[in-house]
């Protein structure tokens, strides 16, 4: 194999793929990137076995071929190279030579045959999806997925594709985020995706691109003209989130998001490190905050709000609430309640976007 590539194209390809390379691995070849020649240039691929990323960049091919090269070393070298074309060649299964200007490097790679093959996914039946809409879904929901290992299913983000919409749902059992965007989707499909893969997708595909998404046996592939991402799917079924979304919350508060956030942050200063417990009392016209943490102190605050319904006093993990508010796209937010032990909802208020966004938060028990 032998090819010439511009320093910038090499750096671009490495920047896209390197994040998929695991920092620690028991399988040595996973620390390497697979570099193969194609009709248009070279394809660089990396994987941690759960997620695989691959991207194609332009290059001048002299001799076609493929080899794996230590990812970290190659990236470090590429970063330091002078501004000159880079010649890369391999001899035999393992030897790699890189020349650029007067610099010359010899690296030890591993044969291509040792690199895991990518999941077999047929893109001919792929669904075409606007990348921007997908990114919006990911951004607003995947933060809510669980990081705890006891229920692997909640470690994933549910992605529902319907003929006229796409929906993503994520929850850790304490709070939930759900968003749907109207798109011409495809046939009804439910997928559960690791957030780590969604992160790569969000990072790699520009918003204006159109993506092809196709499903293999237990993998999912995303493809744009130059880049593809493959991920393992988490096996379902996902818990019935629809039943737990309250439909009869009869108390409604409208709050100024910025003021609400700053009050919550003030209260958090004296909230417990572990539970961030705060107490909120909603009354007509006024929201009262109270925190009391043994060994630390107490705090109170007030915020004028618009409120309808009987007064309610309810406890929350302030960190959860702050986190949700960070993703709400509007200046005003709408919270609804039924009872202090029931789920409350937090939604954008006055959002002109055609998307629907709902977050849900389970309360913390209050003691009197």
């Amino acid at each position: 194999m032998r090819f010439t590539i511009s320093r910038e194209k090499l750096q671009e390809g490495l920047a896209a793929v390197s994040p998929a390379v695991p920092s620690k691995t028991t399988l040595p070849v996973l620390a390497n990137l697979l570099v193969q020649t194609t009709d248009r240039g070279i394809r660089i691929s990396g994987t941690d076995l759960d997620i695989a990323v691959s991207t194609e960049v332009a290059a001048e091919i002299d001799t076609p071929g493929a080899i794996t090269i230590p990812a970290r070393k190659l990236s470090e070298i590429a970063r330091e190279l002078p501004a000159a074309p880079v010649k890369l060649s391999s001899s035999g299964d393992q030897r790699v030579t890189l020349e650029c200007g007067r610099s010359k490097f010899k690296l030890l790679g591993l044969p291509k045959s040792e690199f895991p093959s990518f999941p077999a996914i047929q893109f001919d039946k792929a669904v075409r999806i606007p990348s921007g809409e997908l990114q919006k879904l990911i951004h607003h929901t995947s933060f809510a997925a669980s990081t705890e290992e006891s229920r692997p299913i909640l470690n994933g983000v549910l992605w529902e594709i319907r003929s006229d919409l796409m929906r993503m749902v994520a929850t850790n059992g304490h709070r939930l985020a759900k968003m749907e965007v109207p798109v011409k989707g495809g046939k009804q499909t439910d997928l559960i995706i690791p957030p780590k893969a969604l992160e790569q997708i969000r990072r790699l595909f520009p918003a204006e691109e159109e993506l092809e998404v196709a499903q293999g046996e237990n993998h999912l592939g995303f493809r744009s003209p130059f880049t593809s991402v493959y991920t393992r799917l988490i096996e379902g079924p996902y818990p019935g989130y629809d039943q737990v979304i309250p439909k009869d919350n009869d108390k409604v508060a409208l709050l100024d998001k910025a003021a609400f956030i700053s009050a919550l942050k003030r209260m958090s200063v004296v909230a417990s490190d572990q539970t961030h417990r705060i107490r909120l009392s909603f009354n007509a016209g006024m929201l009262k905050f109270a925190v009391s943490t043994p060994d630390l102190g107490e705090a109170q605050d007030e915020l004028p709000i618009r409120y309808t319904g009987d007064p309610i006093e309810i406890g929350f993990n302030a960190a959860y609430l702050l986190e949700i508010l960070r993703y709400l796209p509007t200046d005003e937010v709408r919270m609804t309640f039924r009872a202090p032990e029931r789920a409350s909802t937090v939604e954008p208020e006055g959002w002109t976007d055609p998307s629907k966004y709902l977050t849900l938060l389970m309360p913390l028990r209050l003691v009197d």
Partner: protein, 576 residues
């Protein structure tokens, strides 16, 4: 029948009755005589005992002695050189002050006093069973020798209550041990039936005296206590939690230099061990308490082993705190030194401290957003002493290791986390304010009959730590809300494992010993050995552990922190 005549008892009878209070057995005689010697300023005391004290008790001292005028007066009732008026009783500094002991002893024995205020001219006073004294001259060196023979020979009722010579000797040695512990500055030698039993040179401190009494291994294993709370100072030695129950228990308390017995203080000291030792065993405690003389009343009982305190509550809290602090320090574990295991020595240049993200491990997932900046996470305020976390390394996914200038320190991650959670759960349980996060999808647990029974027994405490549980006909539980002690916490598994553990531990559940139940729960909730920890988690655990009251021990009383001194390591490498 005619009315009984009221009569004044002859002095000898009154003395005999009074003697019953002070002089119950040979050991009481020894105690009184030795205290007199100490009051006379003796620096060396020699005690000879024959046949458990019934045949002979002789106490010789090198104290001030008495002159020919005072020696006979010593055996008169309420004759004392130590106080003059009742007001002097407040804060009395001598051991004796009632002027009762010698007359009481004289009334039930053959008593001989040989004494000299200076070398040469001495006096000998002999009294037989309360009869008038015979006074003669006797030359001797400065000091006093009091000899008591035929104890209780004229008091058959009392004699009948005496135990065998061995038992009486035990009691004597116990009394002498107390003296030895109080007055480390005095040389004490003791023989029984002609054989040397104790030979204690003057000691510079309690640990040295304990070494001379019970051996140096015993002495070295005790942890030093030294704490001052307001006007109260508590010092001494207590047993390491890990050793409690392995050797005979020794308890010694002194208040302002006077040995006392006080169940309340012992209880307070033991409370400091709470959860660090298995239930049912009790620690050895040797504590010297110093407090303003006006706050103690020593004249409660003639034997003077009980005292009254003006403010018992404050005193007991001071004792508990002192012991707790001692156990929380490193020397409860390994090497000696009063500083906490986590504190860098003052001499070291500031270690490569790290910013600690307290959310790891001890907080509910301070949401790490996948894609957004997390810069608006609230910064916690910190009123406590700053804990600088040294660079930590995880070994075998089990231990956290760091270096200090004097040692390599290892922390058992599970034990440490268990200790952290135990104190947290216990606090929440006792305050009744456990946090309980409601669940979107309630958990269902199916229980075996034994587990269902364990649940019934322990339901109150399970709820008390934050589980909201509904029971369905005993065999199924519906969990609506759970505690959230740390991000890796698996509420379902913790509840399951706790119930499983309780089925094997009926006593824990049925006796409502919430501490034990909570210890079980903390054990199940804690991270386990074998879990890889991130740096921020290790740091957070380090800080949380340093803030516990007993960081050096887990809830089973095992070590949480172990240190390998550099001396030891250097020795192994032949560098020393």
């Amino acid at each position: 029948m005619s009315a009984p005549r009221i009569a004044v008892l002859p002095g000898a009878v009154a003395d005999q009755i009074a003697a019953g209070e002070v002089i119950e057995r040979p050991a009481s005689v020894v105690k009184e005589l030795v205290e007199n010697a100490l009051d006379a300023g003796a620096t060396a005391i020699h005690v000879d005992v024959m046949e458990g004290g019934r045949a002979l008790i002789r106490v010789s001292d090198d104290g001030s002695g008495m002159d020919a005028v005072n020696a006979p007066v010593a055996i008169a009732r309420h004759a004392t050189s130590k106080i003059r008026a009742a007001a002097d009783l407040v804060g009395v500094a001598s051991y004796g002050f009632r002027g009762e002991a010698l007359p009481a002893i004289a009334s039930v024995s053959r008593l001989a006093i040989e004494t000299a205020p200076a070398h040469g001219a001495g006096t000998r006073v002999v009294v037989h069973a309360g009869a008038p004294a015979v006074v003669t001259e006797a030359a001797r060196r400065q000091g006093t020798t009091v000899t008591v023979e035929s104890l209780f020979a004229n008091a058959p009722a009392r004699q009948r209550f005496l135990k065998g010579a061995r038992a009486e000797w035990r009691a004597i040695i116990d009394a002498l041990t107390i003296v030895a512990l109080i007055r480390r500055d005095v040389r004490l030698t003791v023989t029984h039936d002609g054989k040397e039993q104790l030979a204690l040179p003057t000691a510079s401190g309690l640990r040295e005296r304990v070494g001379a009494l019970w051996g140096h291994t015993v002495a070295e294993r005790l942890v030093a206590v030294d704490d001052v709370a307001g006007p109260i100072r508590v010092a001494g030695l207590v047993e390491r939690p890990a050793d409690v129950g392995t050797a005979s228990r020794r308890v010694f308390l002194s208040v302002n230099g006077r040995a006392i017995r006080d169940a309340g203080i012992v209880r307070a000291a033991e409370a400091a061990y709470r959860s660090a030792i298995p239930s049912g065993v009790r620690p050895s405690l040797l504590l010297d308490i110093t407090l303003p003389v006006a706050d103690v009343d020593v004249n409660v009982h003639p034997a003077k082993t009980e005292v009254r305190f003006a403010d018992r509550w404050t005193l007991e809290r001071a004792v508990e705190r002192a012991v707790r602090r001692a156990l929380g320090t490193e020397d409860a574990e390994a090497s000696l030194g009063a500083r906490s295991w986590w504190q860098a020595p003052a001499a070291t240049p500031a270690p490569l401290g790290r910013e600690v993200e307290p959310s790891a491990l001890i907080e509910t997932p301070a949401p790490t957003p996948l894609f957004a900046q997390s810069d608006d996470a609230p910064t916690p305020v910190d009123g406590e002493p700053e804990i600088v976390v040294p660079p930590l390394v995880q070994l075998r996914r089990t231990f956290l290791m760091f270096e200090r200038d004097d040692a390599v320190v290892l922390i058992d991650q599970h034990s440490a986390h268990e200790r952290v959670l135990y104190e947290r759960f216990l606090g929440e349980f006792e305050r009744g304010d456990a946090a309980s996060q409601a669940l979107l999808f309630p958990l269902t647990l199916h229980l075996s009959p034994a587990e269902a029974e364990a649940f019934e027994q322990a339901a109150a405490f399970i709820r008390g730590v934050g589980y909201q549980v509904e029971s369905f006909g005993g065999s199924a539980l519906l969990v609506h809300a759970v505690p959230t002690p740390h991000p890796r916490f698996d509420a379902e598994r913790c509840l399951r494992e706790t119930l499983a553990a309780l089925t094997g531990d009926r006593a824990a559940a049925s006796h409502g010993k919430h501490e034990r139940l909570i210890a079980t729960m903390a054990c199940k909730a804690a991270i386990k050995a074998g879990e890889a920890l991130r740096v921020d988690e290790m740091n957070a655990l380090f800080v949380a552990l340093a803030r516990t009251t007993l960081p050096a021990h887990d809830v089973h009383g095992r070590a949480t922190v172990v240190q390998l001194g550099w001396d030891e390591i250097e020795r192994r490498f032949g560098r020393r």
